[in-house]
Symmetry: C2
Subunit: 230 residues, 2 copies
DNA sequence: GGAATAGTGTCTATTAGACAGTATCCA
DNA sequence: TGGATACTGTCTAATAGACACTATTCC
C-alpha cells in the first residue's frame, strides 16, 4: 500500500497511530550530542533533521521497534533503550495524527563513530537546528530525564567505555550536571557506592597514569545517594 | 463504522492503535483500592473487570483522552492524571493490536464515593480478580510508581482530604510503604519540608483533637528528602 | 480518673561538604 | 626539574534514626 493511501484510510478512521522515536546521546568533545537523521516529508518537513524512529510493526513491541529503527538508521546493534515518555499532542505531526513513544539510548564516547552512516549526524544539544515534528521538545525532555537519573542510579555506565578512570567519570557528571564537582568528595562518594571496581590496569598518558575502573554491574542499579556535592 | 469492520481494516493496515487506560487509586479502609469497570468483549474478555479507558479521539491528546474516559466511566470531574508508562506487547490485547498509554490518577479518601456509578467498583489491590488485557500488570507498575513517588514528592496530597491531621498523613505513608514510621521523626521531617501548613482548626474526635493541616501547594513539588525512616 | 490518641525533645552516629597538599609519570 | 594530572584525609555542620514521656479531650 502506498503511504498516501495509507494515510487517507487512517485519517478516515480518525484513530491515532503509534510510532517510536529514539533519542541517542553520547558525550563528544565534552558536550552532550544527539544522533539525528535526515527527514524529508513534504510539504511540512523538507530537508530537515529529526530523531531516528518509525512505525511499530505487527509483531513487535514498542521497545523492539525502537531497537530496530535505531539499528536501521544508525547502523548499530546491541544498544539498549529505555522508554522516556509518550508524546501525543494532536498537532505534533502536521501530516497526520500520530503518537510517539519516545525512547532514550546512551552510547559510550568510544563507540559513537560506529553508529554513524552516510546520513546520520551527531549534533551538540546546545546547537540544535530546527527539527521535524516535536523532536526538539522530545530531546529537551530526554536531557532532563538523563540529568535526573544520574543522581540516583548508575546510568552513566552507558556513556563511558568499558574501562575508564575516575577523572573521566567525574567529567561526565560535570558535563551533565553543568557544574564542577569536588574531586575528593566525588571519589569518596562514588567508591562507597560499590558501583565500580578497580581493574588491574592504568591509563597511560603524558603525565601520571590513572587507575582504571569498570562498572560492577551492567544492569541499571538504583542508589540511595544523591549527587548534590559542589 | 461498526467495530467489527473497524478492526478488520486496522488489522489489514498492520498498524498499532493507541488507546489510554487509567489507574485510579484511593485509600479505603486502610488499603489501596483501584477503580475498575466491567468489560465484556467476546470472545476473550467476557464478564470481567478492567481499567477505565478507551481510544484517543482525533483532536485530543492522550492526556485529554485519559481525563475524558475517566469522566465518562467513573462519572467524575477535575481529577488530574499523570502518564505512567506505555504498554505495547503485541499480545496484550488478544483481539487486535493495541497499545496502551497508561495513566495514574489519585483520589482523596473522602471523594472516592463520588466516582462510583452503577457499574464501577473499588477493589483492594491485594484482592484483585483476574482482569482483562494486561491490566493486572499495569496496576502493579502503577503501585511501584506511586511508592517511588511519595518519598521524593508531595504526591500524597491527592490521596488526602483538603484538610488532614498529621497522624492521618503518616498513616497514608505507612500504608503505601507497608511499614510503621516513627511518629516523632515523621512529624519533624515533614514539617521541615514546608510542604504543609497549619490551618486554624482542629479535628474533633472522642479523644484529644488533632491539629489540621493543608498542603502549601496544589502542584507537584519535588523534595530532596527521602522517607526511609523506620 | 481512665481510655484513647496527639504531641513533644534529646542524644548519637553517620553523612555532606568545604578545603590543600603530596605523588607519579613524562618530556 | 618542571609540567601536568592523579591521588589522598580531616574537620565541621547538618541530618537520620533511635527512643519515652506528657498533654488533651471525652466519657
Amino acid at each position: 500500500m502506498k503511504e498516501e493511501e495509507f494515510r487517507k484510510i487512517v485519517k478516515e478512521l480518525r484513530i491515532a497511530i503509534a510510532a517510536v522515536d529514539v533519542v541517542v546521546f553520547s558525550i563528544i568533545n565534552n558536550t552532550i550530542h544527539v544522533f539525528l537523521t535526515p527527514i524529508h516529508r513534504p510539504p511540512h518537513y523538507m530537508n530537515m533533521f529529526g530523531l531516528p524512529g518509525g512505525v511499530i510493526l505487527e509483531n513487535e513491541s514498542a521497545d523492539d521497534a525502537a531497537v530496530r529503527h535505531l539499528a536501521e538508521k544508525a547502523n548499530t546493534k546491541g544498544v539498549s533503550v529505555d522508554q522516556l515518555y509518550t508524546f501525543s499532542y494532536p498537532d505534533r505531526d502536521k501530516r497526520s495524527r500520530s503518537i510517539s513513544i519516545a525512547y532514550l539510548a546512551l552510547l559510550p564516547s568510544d563507540k559513537y563513530k560506529n553508529i554513524q552512516n552516510d546520513n546520520g549526524v551527531w549534533v551538540s544539544v546546545d546547537k540544535l537546528p530546527t527539527l521535524a515534528y516535536d523532536h526538539s521538545h522530545i530531546i529537551k525532555v530526554a536531557i532532563e530525564r538523563l540529568r535526573g537519573k544520574i543522581v540516583y542510579s548508575n546510568v552513566v555506565k552507558d556513556l563511558l567505555p568499558a574501562q575508564f578512570t575516575l577523572p573521566e567519570l567525574q567529567r561526565v557528571y560535570e558535563i551533565l550536571l553543568e557544574r564542577p564537582l569536588d574531586k575528593r568528595n566525588f571519589r569518596k562518594k562514588f567508591l562507597t557506592t560499590k558501583l565500580i571496581k578497580k581493574v588491574s590496569d592504568v591509563k597511560k598518558t603524558s603525565h601520571r597514569p590513572a587507575q582504571l575502573y569498570t562498572f560492577s554491574s551492567k544492569k541499571l542499579e538504583i542508589i540511595p545517594e544523591v549527587w548534590a556535592a559542589l
